[in-house]
Subunit: 312 residues, 2 copies
DNA sequence: ATAAAGGTGACGAATTAAGGCACCATTAAG
DNA sequence: CTTAATGGTGCCTTAATTCGTCACCTTTAT
């Protein structure tokens, strides 16, 4: 018997029992223990609500979902979840493997006719837009797995046509502005780094001893690992109301917005090698921003604008 | 997706339809015709009472409903939903009133201990970041209600310190880059418009007769209501690879990216009154962009940079 | 301590799945 | 009668999956 058919029969089989063991499956379907185990995994993947009981007289049982009212979310909650899901759907890469078709169906199954209709009506009326995914990120799953299980990863990282092999301990992954990023500790360089996931061309979980304490890190606290080097330069820019809004739309952890006597300033630090980057960022503010210090930043910006003028 | 899972989803898929075609399966499950055919065979083997209708407008029909064992969300799906919800939570305004606390609790209640633990471990490891909400939008609910129920709304709209009263028929609402927007048809001005919701200072549902046909509009098709006026100016800019990426991160419906003999161009139109806006947008590309036409755009950009230079 | 349950990892041989292609059969519309 | 849209078959190649075996681990009740 082929696997799909067997899995389906199993679904029916376990549905009749409330309790069964691997032995039962082995006899019933004439398969080995290993295969029975694998089939259980397949059943769970399909969504069968079973759980295992360990030890002597253990076995598998069905979660009795019928007794507990099947997730009674109210309409508003259902909407919220549904549209959250829709937003997820537009990601071309996710750190989990999910079929939105399947979620969609299971979701609608749980709902009353009324709720179903309302959802359908709202379908084309609400959206949470975010930047579309720009580059495919192929290895999100191992990155997430490593960060959750506190493992060390060996990755190939491609940066401007150069590929380097890094040994990293991922802390978290996040999507932002069309890209996936991975916060991690670079074991070799002994420093906190952020990697862009689409530039990771391969990822492999190793058994290298992870750094202790790093698994206590959360996404936010990890940023604190980032310290301005001794060479870091302080800067300060005056911004108007519009500039402040732009800042809120896009900024980096090394800067903040401060109010000072009716005026607003962006203050922060940059590493010398990031100069070009920061100039480009600040130029995006246009007239809404005025560099106060340092002078070198003013000079650079002037040069930047001159270059652009010549390039037109 | 592996075959057993696909077959299961198919069972549920065809169970909801009374009629479907090979094409449906091919699209829905992203498989070839040959495979779809084979899957049909597998379904029959599993016991689905399907029969085929030959010829044009043919397809498959289900004789009677199949009994499919109940299944629930699998772990991966639960994770995805959970994190989608987390992302929603960071919105300071939503068009529905929800208590994330309550959703959170209901969610965790339904899960097995195992899943609960995994979720907790992932809590600080994954995030879908989007721009934080910048301005409060107070009247999202009436806007959504009006768009769903096809009602006409009277709103006060504040634009650069001037408040005007508009009579609009909302088509959809969406969030983007930290703001909520509302696509709507302005009944008085007889034109399609997009409003920023935080600038709507009051909203009231009226009983004014709505425009017929508008409720057929979806979010995407509504954009087609937007037509460049007679005064609209065509423009064309050369961009390099980096420029193309920037374009993908941020662009507007009136423009598109085209490939032409190894080169990439942004082409589109702008309204004369949007000139300042478009200049600012294009300036954001820096060296990665070169205006090809019209000349007036080049001139404006040059002036823009000169002004900035003087302002440093 | 022991026995009985579930669970993992690795490996190689066997099997299956998948897509592509060419071509056939049936049916309705024009 | 032709065309388009639909289901259906056979055959080929390549890639992926499946399965059993075996060794060994974990959990739990007795």
């Amino acid at each position: 018997m082929k696997k799909p058919e067997r899995i389906n029969q199993m679904l029916r089989f376990i549905n009749q029992k409330q309790h069964f063991t691997l032995q039962d499956l082995m006899h019933e379907f004439q398969i080995s223990k290993r295969t029975a185990l694998r089939d259980i995994a397949a059943l769970e993947e399909v969504g069968a609500p079973i759980y295992a009981e360990y030890g002597r007289y253990g076995g598998y049982r069905l979660l009795n979902q019928i007794q507990v009212p099947p997730i009674s979310f109210n309409s508003q909650e259902v909407f919220a979840l549904y549209f959250a899901m829709q937003a997820l759907q537009s990601f071309s890469n996710l750190p989990f493997q999910v079929s939105f078709r399947s979620i969609h169906e299971k979701f609608l199954n749980e709902l009353s006719d009324n709720q179903r209709q309302e959802i359908e009506r709202m379908q084309n009326r609400v959206a949470f837009r975010h930047t579309e995914q720009i580059a495919d990120s192929a290895h999100l799953e191992p990155l997430l797995t490593a960060s959750v299980k506190n493992k060390v990863l060996k990755v190939d990282y491609q940066k401007t046509s150069q590929t380097s092999t890094r040994t990293i301990q991922p802390i978290s992954i996040y999507s932002m502005k069309g890209y996936w990023y991975c916060q991690a500790y670079d074991i070799c360089k002994k420093a906190y780094r952020v990697f862009r996931c689409d530039r990771i061309t391969s990822a492999e979980i190793t058994e290298i001893q992870p750094l202790a304490g790093l698994n206590e890190m959360t996404m936010k606290s990890a940023h604190s690992l980032w310290k301005p080097s001794e060479n870091a330069v302080q800067f300060k820019c005056l911004v108007d109301r519009k500039g402040a809004e732009l800042f809120l739309q896009e900024h980096y952890p090394s800067m903040k917005l401060v109010h000072e006597k009716e005026n607003m300033y962006i203050v922060g630090t940059y590493e010398p090698k990031e100069l070009d980057f920061i100039i480009k960022y600040l130029a995006g503010f246009g007239k809404s921003m005025k560099i106060i210090e340092p002078v070198i930043l003013k000079e650079k910006l002037r040069k930047y604008y001159k270059d652009l003028l010549n390039g037109i």
